[in-house]
Amino acid sequence: MKYAYYPGCSAHSTARDMHESCLAVSKALGIELNEIKGWTCCGASSAHQTDRELAASLACANLLKARQMGMDMVVNCAACYNRSKVANYEIVNSVQMRQSVADSLGEPYDGSVPVRHFVEILLKDLGVAALRKKIVNPLTGLKAAAYYGCYLVRPPEATGFDDPENPTILERLIDVTGAEDVEWSGKVDCCGGMQNLTRTEITVRRSAAVIEMAQAAGAQCVVVACPMCQISLDVRQADMEKLLGKKYNMPVIYLTQLLGLALGISPEKLGFDKLMVSPAAVLKAARKPVRQNVKG
């Protein structure tokens, strides 16, 4: 299992926990991630709001590098995943876009490099049966809300990730860890992340709505696969509590962090120290079998 790995800019800044846990989990599962040399920014939300051709060209620069490696491109950031998928989709469906991007990059690109999110390769390439064999520390008793947000599932014709209104990839992976996924209707709602710095109160209100729904469903943590969602729900939780006069204490962790714990990887190697809201409830569930061993 070899892939071209695109970390994305947040991997070295706001989402080091996402990156570190992805690498640790890959190592434990024998997934070979080959970082794309010289990778560049996918353009994120600022490029597509400014200039469509610029956005597609920035994303395609990395897809061309992945093509040279002859492997599928694996992305763990849902936003980078989305921009790369949309670029492929636009290239395939618009001759004008294909020409414009070729002119911008100085070489042709046909939109054919497969872009996969890390959770997709866990479920579809490795599979539930193989994953279960590696679980040494089942997170029994932990209730988790699987949260997808926007970038993984929309637009469905470009991402093709899963059912856009009721995806279940994250739930199936949560199930592998031994934790229990809660039934809730907020999983593809928007956290408001794009306005995090520009219209902060909108983000705070949208994210609070998501946290409250997860809480009402009985979740002890929210599990994400997108750094924009993680930042909004985790870092902005103090602002939500201040604005709405409530206490949430809802840990917001990456799927790779949750899976890593179940694989027996130490929390330090999974970036748990980077979280703003204490992940105590999650770590308690992970420690349980160790305590039983000590007693026994």
């Binding site: 800019c9 947040s10 070295h12 800044s13 706001t14 080091r16 926990d17 010289g38 990778w39 560049t40 920014c41 353009g43 994120a44 939300s45 600022s46 490029a47 597509h48 709001q49 400014t50 200039d51 469509r52 051709e53 610029l54 060209s57 920035l58 620069a61 590098k65 618009s94 414009s100 002119d103 911008s104 990059l105 100085g106 926007c150 599932v153 929309r154 637009p155 469905p156 014709e157 856009p164 209104e165 709602d189 928007c190 408001g192 992340g193 794009m194 306005q195 710095l197 520009t198 219209r199 902060t200 909108i202 949208r206 870092v235 103090a238 120290d273 980077k274 979280l275 703003m276």
Partner: protein, 189 residues
């Protein structure tokens, strides 16, 4: 929220420019309003998505760019995902934003164009986003340097935001892409 719309197919109509820029056909909208029902910020804006489409069809001009509505959008694409006629309304909003910036319309609440410029400037210089610099440039320009100061020390301590600029990117490629984009814009695209 009722908006009075009068049919005025003036030369100032944005319909053609928006349809070309967003690569959409707004003529296929039959006002089912699924986009507006699913829109997470519909309650905060003057016209929800289906109404913006109707206003464009009826010849709306620069007044669409002057309201804050296009800058409240979260790009969540729920409108697009649920449209039975596959109208990419998120692309419509992006097109309106780009036109607003080109025409130099008054800066919107939150000044997202300033944020986008600050962010993309770091990408142009470093080949990758440099969050700390982008945020500082934006906050300086927007005059709200104080906001979030309570969070930065903890984020820096935890390594949740990088202090040093990114390195290792193929800067030449990114420089070329930005130069081509600037040239195309100059050519009226």
């Amino acid at each position: 929220m009722t908006t009075r719309i009068t049919k005025q197919n003036t030369p100032g109509s944005l319909l053609k420019a928006v349809q070309e820029k967003a690569d959409v056909n707004l003529g296929v909208c039959y006002q089912c309003r699924k986009c507006s029902i699913g829109c997470p910020v519909a309650g905060e804006i003057e016209s929800p998505p289906s109404e913006i489409i109707r206003r464009l069809q009826l010849g709306a001009g620069d007044e669409l760019l002057q309201t804050g509505l296009i800058w409240t959008c979260l790009s969540c694409e729920t409108c697009y995902a649920r449209c039975p006629n596959r109208i990419n309304f998120a692309a419509v909003v992006d097109a309106l934003k780009a036109i607003a910036v080109e025409k130099g319309v008054a800066k919107p609440e939150g000044d997202a164009p300033l944020f986008n410029r600050s962010f993309l400037n770091t990408v142009r210089s470093h080949g990758r986003a440099y969050d700390l610099k982008a945020i500082a440039m934006y906050k300086l320009g927007a005059g709200n340097l104080g906001q979030d100061m309570d969070k930065f020390p903890a984020m820096l301590k935890k390594g949740k935001i990088a202090i040093l600029p990114p390195s290792g990117a193929d800067k030449g490629k990114v420089k070329r892409i930005f130069e081509k984009a600037a040239k195309n814009k100059g050519a009226g695209r």
